[in-house]
Symmetry: C2
């Protein structure tokens, strides 16, 4: 039987910030869920566009020349190659859409890098 997912239930299972969990897969893309709080390092993805859909709270995306707030019920698509640094003052819940191969820190390897993501 084909299963559905509930967004609130997904986020109730995530207890760490900046830790994307896989919550769906389609056409070689992953749907991921992550809780944001604080500032994430600037990075870009060489070959992957990335979508952030804010389902709770408010985030900011810092680009090299400006900053864009993205509020609950809004989404933004970051084209490949574009430097960006997401942040959130308070806890925010974000659904991500990106190719399965996408690394969360893009072209950087640092203490935020997550590999072998958990599936919820």
């Amino acid at each position: 039987m084909i299963d559905k997912k509930n967004i609130d239930l997904i986020f109730s299972k995530i207890d760490e910030y900046w830790s994307p969990h896989i919550v769906g897969e389609l056409n070689g893309q992953y749907v991921k869920a992550a809780k944001f709080k604080g500032q994430f390092p600037m990075h870009h993805h060489e070959n992957e566009d990335e979508m952030f859909l804010v389902v709770k709270g408010e985030i900011e995306i810092k680009f090299t020349e400006y900053t864009k707030p993205v509020r609950e019920g809004e989404f933004i698509i970051i084209p490949k190659g574009v430097e960006h640094s997401p942040s959130s003052k308070e806890e925010a819940w974000v659904l991500l859409f990106e190719p399965a191969a996408t690394l969360n820190t893009g072209n950087k390897q640092n203490e935020y890098t997550k590999q072998n993501l958990k599936t919820i």
Copy 2:
């Protein structure tokens, strides 16, 4: 400047049921928005998985052997090849994620078929 999209604003611009509008593009996939009301014909997509994210209201997906309700704040991924017929008793707002090439009626051509989708 990279633009964000507001889901409420998107749906305020859609005045027809079963008419997907393009609201984003990434990695060869489209994000589409559609208002559902009534019953949509049974069909399948030969090569494309399809995700329905319900942002308002409640829909049902009828498969050949069972029916699955998908409520506000839930999503479902229909694998390619699987026959399905979405419906909604009241107006529902749905975000769709699928390859750019996906036709709304899949393997069928009928009065519900939409081509040359508008972009919002």
